[in-house]
């Protein structure tokens, strides 16, 4: 029996990925556990391991193919002793298997309803083999005029060629009704802009420009943040925290850590303070999920890390139960992996609360966009010396403004304020953080 290798779901939210690189070629013998390909997902570059022993009979998705839906057959292995051509023949006509819906997706889907029907994995069609889409010129033109991704449309013409009728059906959202044909992934609902298929914007005349295709990460950022701003009712709370004590404590601790390789940053304190504040105000460690709420009993803090071409949010899990040194080392490791594009799904999936820190750029304060399905995100500005009034007299203190963006469906103003108050106490009296 030929073994079909599918586009794996490397994270719960992954819908499609780019086949960045093949590490094997047709005819190679592979063993279970061998890395056979690299997939660029919406978050990172991941390695795909072979789950079986065999010979690579056929590579069905060419290197560089973008938007390969999860569940599509990307290669076929012939089992030991099996005729390679027979394996290929068997797989050629194979329809894409519907992948099992990632379990973690359920709450996410409910909390972040998408305007166009979100493509369910079962309805995800084949991105046609390799990067060549077989489509009639007319179908291509109509699709491009409508801003529909022709690669996401299942073709009904000879050998799966996409013809005019397929594009029209996809635009009308009607292809799904066809018995054998897989449904289109991109079916803009009438009146609502389809997520993932941006309207067609042309460049301005006369201004020099160059064009870059969106990376998987950029597409995910665009999609998720659009979802957030369109569907999450945001409100913002800002508070000032004095940092002098924290800076002093940090200096002392770092002296003690000298030579250990660990060096605490202000951000490490902010992570721990956030986690502890969430423990104190559990109503802020929540997630809206349609007809229910999830109350998280552990603070998993997502830390936004800017990387080339976008940002990722690796997670410090159970930050409320971790010491500053542990947090510091973990963040350093995660940030390093993020910059190298080596984050694994378990490194960035989940998270109950996010921190975005632009203080290092001198940003005084800003409001961040809630990272769905989370309930809140803390935007951290620069710590700077500011005049403050203490006991009726003007004084100088190092002050940092932080702004909490909340999903009002889950978190009310008072809850957000309570959280910030608890956070402020921890930051301004950092010894309590060590308790």
């Amino acid at each position: 029996m030929a073994i079909e290798i599918f586009m794996p779901a490397l994270s719960p939210t992954m819908e499609k990925g780019t086949l960045a690189k093949w590490l094997v070629k047709e005819g190679d013998t592979v063993s279970s556990g061998d890395v056979i390909a690299e997939i660029e997902t919406d978050k990172a570059t991941m390695e795909v391991e072979s789950i079986d022993d065999g010979v690579v009979a056929k590579i069905l998705v060419a290197e560089g193919a973008e938007d390969v839906p999860v569940g599509q057959i990307i290669a076929v292995l012939a089992e030991e002793g099996e005729d390679v051509s027979a394996a290929t023949a068997g797989a050629g006509a194979a329809a894409p298997k519907a992948p099992e819906a990632p379990k973690a997706e359920a709450p996410k889907a409910e909390s972040a309803p998408t305007p166009a029907a979100a493509p369910t994995p079962a309805a995800t069609p084949v991105k046609h083999d390799g990067d060549r889409v077989f489509a009639s010129p007319l179908a291509r033109r109509i699709a491009s005029q409508a801003g529909v991704d022709i690669g996401a449309i299942a073709g009904s013409g000879p050998k799966g060629r996409v013809v005019k009728a397929d594009v029209e059906a996809a635009m009308a959202g009607g292809t799904a009704a066809k018995a054998a044909a897989p449904a289109p992934a991109v079916a803009p609902a009438a009146g609502a802009p389809a997520v993932g298929s941006a309207p067609v914007y042309g460049p301005h005349d006369g201004i020099p420009y160059h064009e870059e295709k969106l990376s998987g990460m950029r597409k995910t950022i665009a999609r998720r943040l659009t979802e957030s701003k369109q569907h999450v009712p945001h409100f913002y709370l800002t508070i000032d925290c004095e940092l002098d004590k924290l800076l002093k404590l940090r200096g002392e601790l770092n002296k003690k850590l000298d030579g250990t390789g660990t060096k605490l940053s202000v951000n490490d304190f902010i992570i721990r303070a956030s986690a502890l504040a969430l423990k104190k105000v559990p109503a802020a460690n929540v997630q809206f999920a349609g007809d229910k709420m999830y109350w998280y009993e552990r603070a998993d803090i997502s830390v936004a890390v800017a990387i080339e071409g976008g940002l990722v949010t690796p997670v410090v899990r159970g930050a409320d139960g971790k010491g500053l040194a542990d947090i510091s080392n973990e963040v350093k490791e995660l940030a390093g992996k993020a910059k190298d594009g080596k984050l694994m799904p378990e490194d960035y999936a989940g998270g109950t609360f996010s921190i975005s820190n632009l203080g290092m750029y001198g940003i005084k304060e800003f409001g961040a966009v809630v990272n769905p399905p989370q309930g809140a995100i803390l935007a951290v500005g620069a710590g700077e010396q500011r005049p403050v009034v203490k006991d009726g007299a003007l004084a100088v203190a190092t002050v940092m403004s932080v702004t909490l963006s909340c999903d009002h469906r889950a978190i009310d103003g008072a809850v957000g304020a309570e959280f910030l108050a608890a956070f402020k106490v921890l930051i301004e009296d950092p010894v309590t953080m060590l308790l």
Binding site: S136, P137, L138, A139, R141, I142, Q145, S156, G157, P158, V163, K164
Partner: protein
Amino acid sequence: MSDTYDLVVVGGGPGGYVAAIRASQLGLKVACVEREHLGGICLNWGCIPTKALLRTAEVYHLMKHAKDFGLKADGIGFDIEAIVKRSRGIANQLSSGIKHLFKKNKVAHIEGEAAIAGKGSLSVKGKDGKTTTVSAKNIMIATGARARELPHLKADGELVWTYKHAMTPKTMPKSLLVIGSGAIGIEFASFYREMGAEVTVVEMMDRVLPVEDHEVSAFAAQSFKKQGMKLMTSASVTELKKGKDSVTCVVDEKGKKTEITVDRVILAIGIAGNTEGIGLEKVGIKTDRGHIVTDEWGFTGVEGFWAIGDVTGAPWLAHKASHEGVIAVEKIAGVKGLHPMDKSNIPGCTYCRPQVASVGLTEEKAKAAGYELKIGKFPFIGNGKAIALGEADGFIKTIFDAKTGELLGAHMVGAEVTELIQGYVVARTLETTEAELMHTVFPHPTLSEMMHESVLDAYGRALHF
């Protein structure tokens, strides 16, 4: 004798015999019952023998214009018997060719007249008068059609002809009235006019070749008139008064009655399906206005019964019948990925002089369908090959959807256009836009260059006009 076939096709015309061969290719045990000649009307009494006659007319036309080509042809004339003999010879040659194809493809050829005996069963009355029963899992009715007649317009084969009589004249009539200006009527009108008869064409619609694009229709009408044909449109023949060797026709032209006396009359007022005497009612196969009702695969709705070709309705074209036959057989055989025929991609060809060919929507229909149009037109006079051929009359018109560049229709009138239309049919089937057609290299010098120019013209880019 009792045999069980996977499929028995009733009728050996271009729909039936092609279906039978395709069935055999797909491994079905198949037989084809034909009561007269293999090849049906098309091959024996339609498309092919009339093309033989029209070729004679064309050569005769060239001979009459020999001087234009620097040739001398004195004392030219014709022998009607020899003309008909050539036409019949070609029909017979092709009909026996089908016998050979059947043998090669292991299609059983049953001679006789079939009628439905019940589900999965046919009774066939052979030429010897004996009746045998043939069993089949599937029965395909491909009995075709015949010339339509009306109570006051009936053929007698002597003075009033159908196509069948019209293609085997014993003498050349001096004058002729053709009722109906569709492909059949106008082809006979063209032939007889070329051979010297005084020809009057009576058409009920407001123009000749009424299914064609308006401009093509008008251009053709002008050419016919120039050739000396008399065209009466929005007119109908209300009465035929037969004389000894002539017929007086009462023509009602927009309420004005005229009497025209001619040697012969040709009826070309349409086609009626051969639905009688097959026993359709026995198994409950439905008909509508003389044609069998089927779905897009040729299925009649009654288990085991299929119907294709002329007997199922318009367009009454051999190539439509063949294609339907193939699709129905493939459906029966369970071929995967089948598509019903897109009727808008069936080309139509009329072999009058000038020839007419078209595919897709006419300008009028495209407008009515709500398209915004880009229309290109290129005249034969702008084409080197056309001028070299001495055929500088005609044009090629292309109609595009301004929004998508879809080739909605193509309409041609002029020399050899029936051989050209296929280029546009392929383009439509492959769903090309104007861009691919513009990027296609057309060989020089050919008439086909006009197809390119017409597309270019639709986008204001014609080079030679």
